[in-house]
């Protein structure tokens, strides 16, 4: 919505929107300032009136990315109505699914390139990456309820996160042809994590057939 030919009026928002949509489709490396200026019909340097640098724009994108990621994963972990084990399972599924649907954004958030931005965001604003916090809370809840083995909840959370992150990375970074196996792989990985973390002190309930199958002792 331009006010006139010279001033756009909402160019900053437009830059962010275009950049965010671009990353949904294409590799982060291909997002150049030229792409943004062409898409908005502005000059190459217009962006510097709204962001101090390209990285400053990327920081906003990463911030938005984490919000989107959290929106998908955190509520699922925190949903008290769902049995705890099922929350882990559903989250695993959704985690991998999200990474597959948003490979470029996933790499942007969790990759190395903008690690310093991520660290800044995550250290200043705890709530921005809610997902890991939610995972840790859920692990602690599981330990208190006797579902998971008593252990360092940070370590246990990292193990879970690392497993999912590794699987997601293998799939989206094209290391081995495993993309079409991904559904089974998530199940297998969940089974492995469950076997490693679960305690046998209490009876565990689940409403998901696959998870129920894992809880019943086999021959």
């Amino acid at each position: 919505m331009k006010k006139n030919d010279y001033h756009h009026g909402n160019l900053k928002e437009e830059f962010l929107k275009i950049a965010f949509e671009f990353i949904h489709k294409e590799d982060v490396d291909k997002l150049t300032l030229k792409v943004l200026s062409d898409a908005t019909g502005t000059s190459r340097s217009a962006i510097y009136r709204h962001f101090s640098s390209k990285d400053a724009l990327m920081e906003e994108i990463i911030r938005q990315g984490f919000e989107e990621f959290d929106r998908v994963t955190s509520p699922m972990l925190r949903d008290q109505k769902t049995p705890l084990v099922d929350r882990f399972y559903n989250t695993s599924k959704v985690y991998i699914e999200w990474a597959k649907e948003n490979p470029n954004l996933y790499r942007l958030l969790f990759g190395r390139k903008y690690a310093y931005i991520r660290e800044e965001i995550l250290s200043i604003k705890e709530e921005t990456c809610d997902a890991f916090g939610a995972l840790k809370c859920t692990v602690e809840e599981g330990q208190e309820k006797g579902i998971l083995k008593k252990d360092d909840s940070l370590k246990q959370s990292v193990i879970i996160w690392a497993s999912l992150h590794g699987l997601a990375s293998l799939i989206i970074d094209g290391f081995m042809d495993v993309a079409e196996l991904s559904d089974e792989l998530v199940d297998d990985m969940f089974q492995s994590l469950l076997a490693g973390c679960i305690s046998n002190k209490v009876k565990i309930i689940s409403t998901i057939p696959f998870v129920k199958g894992l809880l019943e002792p086999k021959g």
Copy 2:
């Protein structure tokens, strides 16, 4: 060893050596053609007499990188003198250790940026990345011996690889401050993988105290 001031004689090898050493210390993104020309005392375009492009040079580096990686991991997996479970454990340790010592090279080999080169290398020359093949063989051996659950060996191998890859990535990409926890994390992760893959049909031997501890049933 220059033949004279004009022709070097072994410039190609020199480029590769310098590039390889550079990546041991600094980020791949910082390896520019200027770095190479300055280090060799040649002009910026001299490299094009020996490589068709920068990517062609990177391909050589990646090839060498896989050889180095395989040299560290494969023999350990294939060493028939070591109990099978210990081979997995030792490999896990060495895998994470190698990634920590060679973060830039690790990212170069397993990251996204040069995925198409990796795919080319791994598809043409099976032996180049021996490590995954060795892992799969060892998994199959474990299944045959009744140590691991009978399952799709590819899937089981991917689960193991993904777990290690995820942990390595979290550590070297600076996601959360887990670097100083890494030793414990590898142990925990191995425990989880073991719990997920292990069968209870045969008595399993190990000479590693930590692993023995995992095999003994706890209260």
